[in-house]
Amino acid sequence: MTNPGNLALENVVVRLGNRVLVSIDTRIAPGEVFTVMGPSGSGKSTLLAYIAGFLDPAFTGSGRVVYAGRDLTLLPPERRKAGLLFQDALLFPHMSVGQNLMFAIPAGGNAKARREVCEAALQEAGLGGFFDRDPATLSGGQKARAALMRILLSEPGILLLDEPFSRLDADLRTHVRSFVFAEARSRQLPVLLVTHDIEDARDANGPVLELG
């Protein structure tokens, strides 16, 4: 796995026209979950888009995003190692569950070893034997766990969570949430979570920034 490092957001500001949507200056330690709370439309997702490199041209972002000594905003999205989890699992519908995970594993190594890494990850997520399954046949919780494992296999440096639990049923939500946070902690990933759910923030057990 990658070396743990801090994620530093240095004077990061996202604007729509002249209006400031998000303004943040903080440092997130490895394994720490930083929560940005705000109602929908408050622009909290645009912060993640700025960090990951997908900010819509309608918005303007400024400030440095430094991870392990590198300014991510200078890198193309595919080299930022910023794992992104949405409220929809967004498993690629044309691939099997296993192919989804294989797509994420960085190139290199022989096919057998890659496959073993993938099977182990499925096992870890309680999805043992799901390699050939059609993602459409998975339950909501299974999809969410598969989506998380897909990100973790890509060996991200940081984790960006965009209300990833809001589509799940209440009891499932708690379960998936603790699974995600536990995985992030064990891999020492700095996590930035945006949500409008106070429960998420409480469970994250870290600093909270409220917007809007």
Binding site: F54, E78, F86, P93, D134, A136, S154
Partner: protein
Amino acid sequence: MLRHAPRLTAFLLVGPVLFGMAATLAPAFDFFPALGSHRLSLDPWRELFAQPALLRSALLSFASGILTALFSLAIVAIFVAGWSHTRAFRLLQHLVSPLLSVPHAAAAFGLAFLFAPAGWLMRLFSPWLTGFGQPPDWLIIHDTLGIAMMAGLVIKEIPFLFLVTLAALPQAKAGEHARIANSLGYGRIAGFVHGVWPLVYRQIRLAVFAVIAYASSVVDVAVILGPTTPAPLAVRLVGWMNDPDLSMRFMASAGAVLQFGVTVAALWLWIIGEKVLALYARTLRHGGHRFANDSLARSISAASVLAMVAIVFTGLFLLAVWSVAGYWSFPDALPRSFTLRVWERQAGSLARPLLITVTTALVSTIAALALTLACLERETRSGKSGGSRALFLIYLPLIVPQASFVFGLQLFFLSLGIDGSFPALVLVHFIFVLPYVFLSLSDPWRAFDTRYLWIASTLGASRSRAFWKIRLPMLLRPVLIAFAVGFAVSIGQYLPTVLIGAGRWPTITTEAVALASGGDRRVIGIYALIQMLLPLAGFALATIVPASIFLRRRDMRAGT
């Protein structure tokens, strides 16, 4: 390469139109160095206007452009207004959509086989009702007013305008607006016309212009169904353009410029009509008439669409029957026997046109699809679409009449020494294939959930990997449908193939149209049937291939 794709595409669309028009214009004023003429004069125009019944030909083309567009658009608009969001609508939608793939010539032959004095309809009612033991001597097909020709065009333009309209409905929020108008007491049609149509029409306007341009300069349908004494302008043009006497080319050029003028005049009259109708609609709106009782108009529109579907399908069925008919005398409704003899006899002469047709269609469509994908991918990466200006460029080859600029293109190629070459043929097909491929693919391509691409990127995939591994396979179905549309368009091309191919590249379509005057129904049946089956095979593959690749992927099924 990707960065230049939009500019390259624009050049390949606009370049031939401009070069073609320029190369049409010069000889029209007697200037054409390649044919040894370096002077300027009005002689070509004098010759042109000395042709008998020229005005009548021009008027026929003009009327055909306006009336075809008017009838097909009115039927489509009233049908969509009166029936959208009903079960009958969904049913008819499935019947109308495949008709788009039927080439104009095949549909026209089918119509002729159905309505001609010796056609199937007359056979069905003879002699018990009509008393005819011999086909009557009526001029139903090739009538002097061009009614058969316009009917043949209308049945082909209805599916086109229908599908374009369907694509425009969601953006116009058709359901919501119509319901609001209905709740105010407006009838279904009135509610749609006032609340939805202006928004829809704005989106399909260029498609309507394309119909006007096509119908005012069509050749193949006009040869099969149109008047002959005189024929519409474009048909006579082709005769002059292909005349072995090269000096005829000057007069033909003047004629091609006149054709351009006729089409522009038709478009111009249409635009005036748009304004008048808009004013009238406003008066009606302000008057507050509800037109709540519109059941008659609804019924007529549904009957028209149903009749259109029935006519095309019956016509195609008759093509198949004739191709295997043994002895079949009037007024028998069916042949006495069936035989494959004519197929066997034609097999030898079919092979070469078939090969040329398929090769031309494949090469031009692959090129068009590749450029379309490059433009759309460039649009994703730059975050900028060409907007309405790009849309106009895409429609340009469809709005400038073929007969005007393709003739110039032929002269241009002639002076380059590449006339009648296979690359020239492919290029001219490409010009007409590309707009359809682009229009067919751009909507589903742009509707793609880009979060899948973000996910791919955050997983470390480069943009090209995300394109090849995620977006392209996920959009395989619309990509193959666009391919099938392009393939069908290429199969159907008549005029460009005749003019640019210079007779050296016979296709199924040119052979079929050439048979029209001969009148051997069995051979026509074979060629028109193959002309219809080729695009159908394309659409069948476009449906079957993704379905079988993604057999075990539920979310990849059609409609999801």
